[in-house]
Homo-oligomer: 341 residues x 2
DNA sequence: GAGCAGTGTGTGCACGTTCCCAATCCATCG
DNA sequence: CGATGGATTGGGAACGTGCACACACTGCTC
């Protein structure tokens, strides 16, 4: 007889208690920190756990504690963006690993359509999740606020649009990063610096543009509005935006593109227009995603510390679960110089 | 007073029963299919559910049913590959959505290191998951077999290495796809066709190579071993492999590269060697990933129906959960012609 | 030696659900 | 008219755990 496939009934806390010669209560105490347990009991229980192969039943525990000991990773973004943009993956992996270190499973929730959003919102507010890590690039999204209002701990990636919001978030210092890049371009002697911005309904997009304006003004250069076009971080937008720039200001000698993915599009557009990079036009990106090193030429960019961002998101969420108040973390960026400037 | 953040106690099945004027049992029956419930009761219960906003407590349910009503998506792959290869994302999204349609949450588990593998294996075999969707590109991986032996339903993406295995899997018809591509290259008049294979410890890699050999032999061409090098689906391997090909067989006029990602590397290597694509060397990829359309020139490739693959994986898993036996599904591929040939 | 504080241990209850069995109702049949 | 049986309903028990409480024991103080 082949009985592979027949799952045996897993050992319970009772089995462990019997094996160790103690009561359920003592086993439970060992499982939850080991306070008020004598050394002999502790040892006996641990031995029994090893022997029986006991693993706590999370459902029974959750039923009584009211916690689920799991968190959700919510991505509210059109589906194509998820494939196209490697940054989501980096964040997803970072969060998964940071949580794994705490033995907390991560539930992946993709809310592309309005229908999915509704379903997911109901799932979360039903109390099936202790908290939510939220990733979205158009931060006007009300979902963070809604979940927070419903009493669900949330940490958002990127600054929320509404300034009065009490939602936790982790973001890179967009404005400072933009300043660094534009100063770098100026230091190369470039004076006609264009910009393809991020979405201007998000603080990330707004702040990068603000840094650009600030440095130019500071350098005594008037901001020429023909050098400013807006995009949405996608590759296609980078290409289209750069084409507009070339039309509006054919004399540009540098472009600051607010995401690496858009910068790839910019390279395509510039090459098609016969401009050499970086000789004719220097190109600066933002993110330092995997795309930056794979591009030809490799891309000078502003590095966002994604590994730290995901680690901080998890840290803030766990802190909230521990009763602390929501908080904000701004992380520094760094200029990475490569061939495109 | 601001009491946002105070989660109210959610309504239970008792509340619904009281509201509807029936017993818990009746509510439970409505929740689980509505058999043996009179129309008036059914209506009353549904009204009460709407009124109270009741959502079933999955933990309490799982505790008694022994099911968790959630499945895991397990990726056993070095971490970099997860970022680099867009195909994983496509699969991940496909599975998430197919499961969402059944209201089944997906837990993401990334097993890059040996330590993570152990932790995850313990988690799964502890019964916290009803089943596992497994994605790996080196299918010699014993984890599928192990989980299956432990009684956990598994569906693997890609054919397992061990032929005696009873593990469910979904795969594209690798051999047939390879045949189509090589026939296509032959039809263009190419006669010195190189190949950069996938990992040869996986059926996918082996089968694509087999298809290549088969068509060449069928066409009366001897297989020149200098035209065969092996890779691992990564971009870097594609570049290195193509360089080796150019050294071993400088007269090649086409390359069949066993993944689109490797094909990107091949384009780089060929361009560096001064070969025009497709005039001097035609390049054919495999996958039809997002990379294929973003490459310059765009890539002729063999389309793997990823959307159908993920849908079938979920279907097979749910079938197993319903008591059906493991099964295998092979899906047809399709040649997509673009600029590189 | 009684009282007390602190440590260690066992037990009953509750969490919210499903499952199972018994009870009831009603229509049909002999 | 009683028996039969299917449809419908209610309620007890159980799932495995954490928590509150009661109790036992120790060592110390007065």
């Amino acid at each position: 007889m082949n009985n592979a496939g027949a799952r045996r009934r897993p050992p319970t806390i009772h089995d462990v208690a019997r094996e160790a010669g103690v009561s359920r209560g003592t086993v439970s105490r060992v499982l939850n920190g080991g306070h008020y347990v004598s050394p002999p009991s502790l040892e006996a229980v641990n031995a029994a756990i090893r022997k029986t192969g006991y693993v706590v039943n999370r459902h029974a525990r959750s039923l009584i504690t009211g916690r689920s000991d799991s968190v959700g990773f919510l991505l509210t973004e059109p589906q194509e963006r998820f494939f196209e943009d490697p940054n989501f993956n980096v964040l997803l992996r970072g969060c998964t690993q940071a949580l794994a270190a705490h033995d907390i499973p991560l539930l992946l929730m993709l809310a592309g359509t309005e229908d999915e959003r509704r379903r997911i919102k109901r799932f979360i507010t039903a109390g099936h999740l202790d908290g939510v890590l939220l990733v979205t690039s158009h931060s006007a999204d009300p979902v963070a606020e809604e979940l927070h209002k419903a009493g669900v701990p949330v940490v958002q990636c990127g600054k929320p649009m509404r300034s009065g919001s009490k939602v936790s978030y982790v973001a890179a210092d967009d404005r400072d990063g933009a300043r660094d890049m534009v100063r770098h371009l100026l230091s190369l002697g470039r004076r006609r610096i264009g910009i393809v911005t991020g979405p201007l309904d998000s603080p990330g997009g707004v702040d990068r543009l603000a840094g650009y304006r600030e440095v130019l003004t500071e350098a005594g250069l008037a901001v020429d509005e023909r050098l400013v076009v807006s995009g949405d971080y996608s590759r296609a937008a980078g290409e289209a935006g750069t084409e507009r720039l070339l039309t509006q200001a054919p004399d540009l000698d540098a472009v600051f593109v607010a995401s690496d993915l858009m910068a790839l599009g910019a390279l395509t557009a510039l090459r098609r227009a016969g401009r050499r990079i970086p000789e004719d036009v220097a190109v600066g990106g933002f993110d330092d995603s995997i795309a930056a090193t794979e591009a030809t030429p490799t891309l000078t960019t502003i590095r966002q510390p994604y590994d730290r961002i995901s680690a901080e998101m998890v840290r803030l969420l766990l802190a909230q679960l521990g009763g602390e108040d929501p908080a904000a973390v701004i992380l520094p960026t760094e200029l990475v110089r490569r061939e495109s400037t």
